[in-house]
């Protein structure tokens, strides 16, 4: 059905994770496809391709946006962050990534890039999400493995890590007020870990 008769190619400069990619794309190239094919950044996953599943979510000028619902040509001039750009400059995991690992917030991992970009921006906008707000933050992202329980825990944990006020190991355990006291030793270890990775700053 595609008409291949001399489709115009546009030269576009995409700013992705601080790097400029000069790409040549037809106007209909979705940003999700341009990131994967032209930029070689395959961390952005393509699921439903009509804006429902959230797997392709990237940050455009800091805000989570569906990359399958944007054309690459219109993204020129914006700063794009993909899952590859989330880690700290030294390669250590950012709070959202760290929390998803700690809380077992993923199984097959297909949806994870979209969750991580969404949560990275979400806890910046709302550093202290309530349980309901944590659920709302990821309500636009589908996961077919986990049943979401550990993902929501990871959102709450990511906010804690980003605030730097809850160094407990493992997933947050509901409203157990005794958790921090009970894991005092781990707390120290975690703090050391954080200082060496630069995440404690």
């Amino acid at each position: 059905m595609a008409e291949n008769t001399a489709e115009k190619i546009h030269d576009v400069r995409l700013e992705v994770n601080g790097v400029t990619h000069a790409v040549a794309v037809p106007a209909r190239r979705l940003l999700s496809d341009a990131l994967r094919q032209e930029c070689g950044l395959t961390g952005t996953h393509v699921g439903c391709e009509h804006g429902v599943c959230g797997a392709c979510t990237v940050l455009v000028d800091g805000r989570p946006v569906r990359s399958c619902l944007m054309f690459a040509v219109t993204a020129a001039g914006s700063e794009i962050t993909t899952v590859e750009g989330l880690a700290e400059p030294d390669g250590s995991l950012n709070p959202a990534q760290q929390a998803f690992r700690e809380c077992h917030g993923l199984q097959c991992g297909f949806c994870t890039p979209g969750f991580l970009t969404t949560v990275t921006a979400g806890i910046k906008e709302n550093p202290c999400p309530t349980h309901e707000e944590a659920r709302e933050m990821v309500a636009g992202n589908l996961c077919r493995c986990t049943g979401y329980q550990n993902i929501v825990k990871a959102v709450e944990r990511a906010a804690e890590i980003a605030r730097g006020d809850a160094p407990a190991a493992g997933p947050p355990d509901g409203d157990d007020g005794g958790l921090e006291a009970a894991t005092g030793d781990t707390e120290v270890a975690r703090k050391d870990d954080a200082s060496t990775t630069g995440l404690g700053a």
């Binding site: 595609a2 008409e3 115009k8 037809p26 009509h50 946006v65």
Partner: protein, 286 residues
Amino acid sequence: MKPTAFDYARPETLEEAVQALGSHPDAKVLAGGQSLVPLMSMRLAAPALIVDINHLPGLDHVTADASGVRIGALARHADVLASADVRRVQPLVSLALANVAHPTIRNRGTTVGSIVHADAAAEMPMVLQLLGGSVDVVGSGGRRTIAADELYVAPLESSLAHDEVAVEAFFPALPAGSGVAFEEISRRHGDYAMCGVAAVVAVEDGRVTSARAGYLSVSDVPTVVDLTDALAGSVDDAALARAAEAALAQLEPESDIHATAAYRAHLAKVLTARVLTAAHDHAREE
């Protein structure tokens, strides 16, 4: 699923945008693209020319004053929803926006774009119509204002001319002594609603002087009905039931894959009573 090939224009002024639209009979404006791009990917739409207005200057404003709320064509839903001034001047805009898809979609989708996309399942067309708002458009004939009740001519069809760009939407302020409410029911969080109802109720000296309700996803165009007569006495269960029946008499619920007409009618009745109650309570607080 990929869109079909199209020509692409990225105008830098409104004049260029209007000119580009006029240059092709099958041209389409791209703003947020949260409705248009999926339609193109599913090949339900295949415009020959996309006029990308995202880079036009001076269209991303969200302002509110005593007269009402003005929203520029490039203001994203998220910007409008975040505005405390909008919430104060016309709270129904904020109440409805919180139900528009998910935050990620609201980061990109524009309120004005949603309004002129004219989807009867969307929140903002119905709210514009219920509040008696308007849209300013610019075309080769200059700038004009289209009142909401002249905007929606058919399913997914607005009265904008082919070469006109919607540049601003206006929602009148909520008058003193009036209250609003919004509620919708959807299968999944963030999905299009199977039925959504908003109400505006005005109260004077304890009496309802005006009660109107707007319906989304019930018919194939956004629909507003006047329910003042049903609530002219006291606002009690019997009056609310009468209002819901009166509303239904003016609606023609439709069946689709998401809900039968009978279920939609049921939802419309229940939600009518709920939002009228809430808007009436809100009016008495004001």
